[in-house]
Symmetry: C2
Amino acid sequence: MAPPRRLSAERVTLAHGGGGKAMRDLVADVFVAAFRNPEMGELEDQARLSSAALAEPGAQLAFTTDSFVVDPVEFPGGDIGTIAVCGTVNDLAVGGARPLWLSAAFIIEEGVEVALLRRVAASMRASAEAAGVVIVTGDTKVVGRGSADKLFVTTSGVGVIPAGRRLAASRVRAGDVALVNGVLGDHGAAILAARGDLALTSDIVSDCRPLDGLMEAVLAAAPGVRAARDCTRGGLASALNEIAEAAGVGIELDEAALPLRDEAKGICEILGLDPLYLANEGTLVLFAPAGEAEAALAAMRGHPAGRGAVAIGRAVEAHPAVVVMRTLLGGRRIVDMLVGEQLPRIC
Amino acid sequence: MAPPRRLSAERVTLAHGGGGKAMRDLVADVFVAAFRNPEMGELEDQARLSSAALAEPGAQLAFTTDSFVVDPVEFPGGDIGTIAVCGTVNDLAVGGARPLWLSAAFIIEEGVEVALLRRVAASMRASAEAAGVVIVTGDTKVVGRGSADKLFVTTSGVGVIPAGRRLAASRVRAGDVALVNGVLGDHGAAILAARGDLALTSDIVSDCRPLDGLMEAVLAAAPGVRAARDCTRGGLASALNEIAEAAGVGIELDEAALPLRDEAKGICEILGLDPLYLANEGTLVLFAPAGEAEAALAAMRGHPAGRGAVAIGRAVEAHPAVVVMRTLLGGRRIVDMLVGEQLPRIC
């Protein structure tokens, strides 16, 4: 095809979503320029891909999708592009899949600066490179002013689960140890502070990062790991409740062991929030059989995304499907699933 | 997991996007209930899939995505769910892929009626069944009033391209015959009339339909078909311009042969639009080598989605990358790519 023409318009107009020349120029100038890769092949409406890993006997294809509507679009530690790539990579990784390819679909509000789109596309490219995945196909729609809030991004991901791996929440057994890879709640706290209307200042940056390398390291050292979940919307508390319910086990947490930042705890106290429900974008919880817990912990700590890994509790036979925390004061309280809405548009 | 609780709320609230109980209930009651299928397996954050077709030597994986923002969400002949499924199925099919699995991500405006979501989910299920694909994974986000316009849906699709198939716009050669499977412009005309603010009444319904069965029938009868494109945003004119540019050929259209409805022509005349640019959601153009054109045409006409198939023109050596129409009056005019925006939010 012809070389992309440089966009003269500085803001997106409805014409950029019309399927004609203006759209082709926007796509070529902003998105293809950022994502261009030999795996994209000819610019057809679909990517055509081959992977020897997918043809291995017993391998499964993993497929996942998420829409991202985070407000604000840019925040300390990343932007909507960073979490759109990391979020989908991590959904694949926590299931034991090796992420291969991503799609990216953009819904853009008329009037958005093209420079913002360029920054988001650059973030996506950087996060994809860090995760070892390729953005191979995409789409762009434009809606009128007031019909969307700046920019929504939907990513889907395809990965391969090697033969023999079967991580599932339902596989967790009493006695398994719960491990997290680092500090909890940084994404939620960073977004809260970035919204500005709370008159909070903070040095906390989002924990946005891909976790596929960390998961591979853990599974190499502790192949018996039962299940993992990234603690996004609803935070650690919601992830643990899902696992407890799926496995029919109780989960016991040690408050003293939880890696929480004083600053995040302070923000939560001011706002009446519970840090266990704060969203994360680069933090996961996994359950390892007791005999492999040390190996899993060591593997996490040996990886850049797991330096702060700690054991935070265990699965128990008592109180099936219920998560209980032993508090600093020696009491016990139930950590329920989030009922209402803590923080809209956190991801 | 526990059986889904029936939603009592009749409208979506921000809590339905919060990652907690309300969201789980909405997802279980509306989306899982509609899409539930053995291939979904356990409700992990990812679908885990196997296909012998993908493991065949020489087979390729096809991957595509589209966001849908059509306004209005419901229209004669379908709704946003119908086109979200058909659009992605068709993107796979026109590249020669057999669609296997879809993902579906929903961005919902606070206040939307749950009943609307149920209708859209039912449409998606019906279209997926018609296409022979399974919706295997999804996501739900909710944004505040005024931050989105009711409902946006993003689908991604995975399919398999059997060994030896290679459809690509660049493969079209002078002498190839251009065929369409039916009447042009019905989707665009139906949406225009449905918007109501144009004081138009019309009996036209959208042509929304999956085209994978049609493509399989054509490729069985005419395996030499070079390329196909579904004529969505930008219509037939944009699809032909893309092909002419990619292949470096000219394309000559016969106006007399174009299957246009008088009613659609009438709407276009009133509004100063050109029906060649009207969007379609179940209409494609393909190029067959002259020796296979009759076989391809017969195969199309033998399929329910191709009863109105006709030859509309051919690729020529003259005027490379330019589409020219021989008009009813014997003149010739250039059919350029759409420059600006004809109809925002047509899909």
